[in-house]
Symmetry: C2
Subunit: 521 residues, 2 copies
């Protein structure tokens, strides 16, 4: 085997089974090594931001590290925006970048750049493979770092081309790493009993406690334990906004999601005297505003941490419930069945109603609805599903890639991508990979032909523009059905809820991707 | 005025008149300032890589700094690949990035990242505007830095939102900078006479000298002076490959372009005993190969530098010709008129013949043909034109953005984008801005449905793959006419040279953009 084979072997032993790739000449040996390996499924993407976003979506659903293969500094740079979202989602993404041969770097050839400087902001670790003999362990370690670093998150591996083409002995004996299918608890349990006692004591002395749930593990069990603990202490359980993964269903206890704008976020904590941070840090405002501050929770509100972002949230909350001597909150059964709206224009509210009726049990809903995010609020009776917020780091353009990755991770689950138009335009190339891999993704493309969030922020700032040149997307209008067809994804344009419901039913019933352009008023 | 107005005023006084923008919330004040200014034309782009590539193309043609406006670290990151090309092209691109309010950075809000670390590899200078009082001068200086730094190239300005919204007095008196429409000589003339004498002496003592021309100023005059000097000393003049701008025409003296692969590049210098570097550095191989070295010119070949990448090349060569006492080489008039190929499949050779017949006088041809770059060799009689190599830094995906920027810079010149399919897919969003601005760009989209350069490199490496999963783009086939239609660009698919010629004539005669999908065998 050569260094490329050894690196791939190390990654495989570290848990990698899928690679989202956009390779170039410096990755030839890695392409050949992937071609020789039967342990990694390779998915070609037309743009690097699709690779990193898909790896993020894959990791959130598969709960194991996902790999990308990218070309030198500039190719890697194209992946950074969605890698930023992956970092904020604490997703274990392993980026492998082929670099020039070691001896060729000094020549400052055209494609040379400082890859480490590009990688540092969006990575939890950055490794340069020094020689072929280290390639196997560096591969293992990168996969491990994505899971076992202080926070889970992106690990970046730079491998020079001469390291890849150098022959090495077979992998070192006895170094193979394995772990189970779930993210580990990241050693948080080490301080567990003391932490549990401190949180319990804080809850007992609080009048209006809030349990704030966040991170990649806000599953049904976590929510039911949190609701039970909150009820016992006369408080509330909330879910942080823009979370990487959030189990949903009308039968679950009602946990409000913290709002986006400062006044909405602060209102959620207005009466709290204690906030228990469960897998998330104290929230801050998304942006700064004149004469405002960054904080959402008042300085006089006590805060205690139950567990870190990477921890097994339900496990921690179950232990807390044990200390507090409460049983898991029951599922609710008397939820009224939602109704389809009568033939109506498509708005956040009517779309929400359609989704509440038609979202299937077990679905994955990828949310990049942005200014129409209100559509996520209504929930279907009897259809427990997973919601992934695409823009955990606020970098738009992650929705379609994230849906691609989720569909590769869970081919038996239907995926619904609720997708704003402006953000879809950053990474529409994901459609091609969906068609190539015949992913079961139904895309609801919300066409409002605006960067509408900018309109909202302009209004909030009291600013009036003479021209809409920098916020309007309607001149010319984007024909999303044509774009989808260009990438071999069939689609339809609809402008009322009846047609939308029919199209959604069709998309969910038909194998492969399907795009529904939902024209909004 | 506020800090945002002051920054824009400084940029305008520094020579900026065009902004390629993809703004977000932290750029609201800058959007409003651009809206209030009549001095800057704003062009909205759907993806940030389109902004940086278009600014690069604009700067190469307009010969003045072009501005982009991008959103925080992740939005900026999306621009880096094409900013890398701009840096390697020595193009004066000024990137303005809105950042969080100064006091909000410590909160580590979701969109926070280390923007300086991202910017450093692809910038000649990086500035963070400290307060509104400095905004005007920082704007001037950034535009100046893009022109006057040791090398011209990208200048990056980070401006926090609170700096933008803070009121300031009008611009400081007496600080307005101006410069002419052309790039300056960058002080190289300071050491001019001694340098000229040294080069002249080297030429006189050489047996087989080569003048190697490169950089952004390989215009007709430079080539004619270089050809005359080379002839006088029994040598040759060559043009470096992947240059940012290169005047072409069959009437010009024949200057071979240095080839891409190491053996081709080395062959161009095989018999040289002196290389005079004229606006370029000594060439190196694009990639490193096993048992090879980076250098192209033998270690025993003497090399002397005439002038830097940013220098006024024709001026230096005219002075050298003066010292050498030679007159400018004449234009050739006995060039045979090229012939259209009889109805043939579309290959690099037949496309080249079509281009030689139909390229109009004064056209700008943007070359991202990659594995079909041979189509650029034939030249039309009587049609002096400009060729821009999109991938000066080897980062593919710059062709369509570069054509957009060139068309905005020179609305009266026809632009022909000769564009490979794989690289077009990185930044197809440029089509929308071409339609929005009604740019006169005719795109010849070379559809070979492969990452063909990878096939070539695989063959060179003697590697055989079991699967074509990571190099094949044909499953599914991309329908470029449908994609163009989705962005309101009309188009046609052709598969022989007669239809190609008809379509090219139509595209050139019709205002606005037009896409010709040229299906290759």
């Amino acid at each position: 085997m050569n260094g490329a084979d050894a690196l791939i072997a190390g990654l495989v032993d570290g848990g990698v089974d899928t690679c989202f790739a956009n390779p170039g000449t410096t990755e030839l040996q890695l392409v050949a090594a992937l071609d020789r390996s039967d342990a990694v499924r390779s998915v070609l993407c037309l743009a690097e931001g699709v690779c990193s976003g898909a790896a993020d979506g894959y990791a959130r659903i598969a709960r194991k590290p996902a790999m990308t293969l990218l070309h030198l500094g500039p190719g890697f740079a194209n992946s950074l925006a969605n890698l930023h979202n992956a970092k904020r989602a604490a997703s274990p993404v392993v980026t492998v970048i082929g670099d020039h041969a070691t001896w060729h770097l000094a020549a400052d050839a055209p494609l040379t750049s400082d890859i480490e400087s590009l990688a540092a902001p969006m990575s939890v670790t950055v490794t340069r493979v020094a020689d072929a003999a280290h390639a196997y362990l560096d591969g293992c370690s990168a996969a491990g770092a994505s899971l076992f670093a202080a926070s889970t998150g992106p690990a970046t591996v730079i491998v020079p081309q001469d390291v890849c083409w150098t022959e090495v002995a077979d992998r070192p004996a006895g170094t193979s790493l394995t772990w189970g299918p779930d993210w580990p608890d990241n050693l948080d349990h080490a301080g567990g009993p003391a932490r549990l006692a401190a949180v319990h004591e804080a809850l007992r002395s609080a009048h209006r406690p809030v349990l704030l749930l966040g991170g990649a593990h806000v599953d049904a069990e976590a929510q039911r334990w949190a609701a039970a603990v909150a009820e016992k202490f006369g408080g509330r359980a909330l879910v942080a906004g823009l979370g990487p993964r959030h189990d949903r269903g009308a039968e679950l206890p009602t946990l409000e999601v913290v709002g986006y704008f400062p006044e909405h976020a602060r209102a959620a904590f207005a009466d709290a005297d204690l906030v228990v941070l469960c897998g998330t840090r104290a929230p801050v405002t998304f942006f700064g505003y004149p004469d405002d501050v960054s904080t959402v929770i008042g300085d006089d509100v006590r805060r205690v941490e139950l567990c870190s972002t990477s921890a097994h949230l339900a496990g921690w909350l179950e232990q807390l419930a044990g200390v507090a001597e409460v049983a898991m909150a029951p599922l609710t059964s008397d939820v009224g069945a939602p109704q389809l709206p009568s033939n109506s224009p498509i708005t956040a509210a009517t779309l929400g109603a359609v989704l509440a009726v038609l979202t299937p049990e077990g679905a994955i809903v990828v949310n990049e609805a942005l200014s129409n995010a209100g559509c996520m609020a209504p929930l279907a009776h009897g259809a427990m599903h997973i919601e992934l917020s695409a823009t955990t780091g606020g970098a738009i353009g992650n929705g379609l890639p994230c849906a691609l990755g989720a569909a590769i991770a869970a081919p038996d689950r239907p995926v619904i991508a609720v997708q704003a138009d402006g953000s879809a335009a950053y990474s529409l190339q994901a459609l091609w990979s969906m068609a190539r891999e015949q992913c079961n993704v139904t895309i609801i493309l919300l066409s409002n032909r605006r960067y509408a969030i900018l309109d909202v922020e302009m209004k909030r700032a009291g600013t009036q523009l003479r021209s809409q040149k920098l916020t309007d997307l309607g001149d010319p209008q984007i024909d999303w059905v044509a774009l989808a067809a260009g990438f071999s994804v069939p689609g339809i344009s609809v402008n009322d809820t009846d047609s939308l419901a029919d199209a959604l039913r069709y998309g969910l019933a038909t194998p492969g991707p399907y795009l529904i352009e939902a024209a909004m008023p």
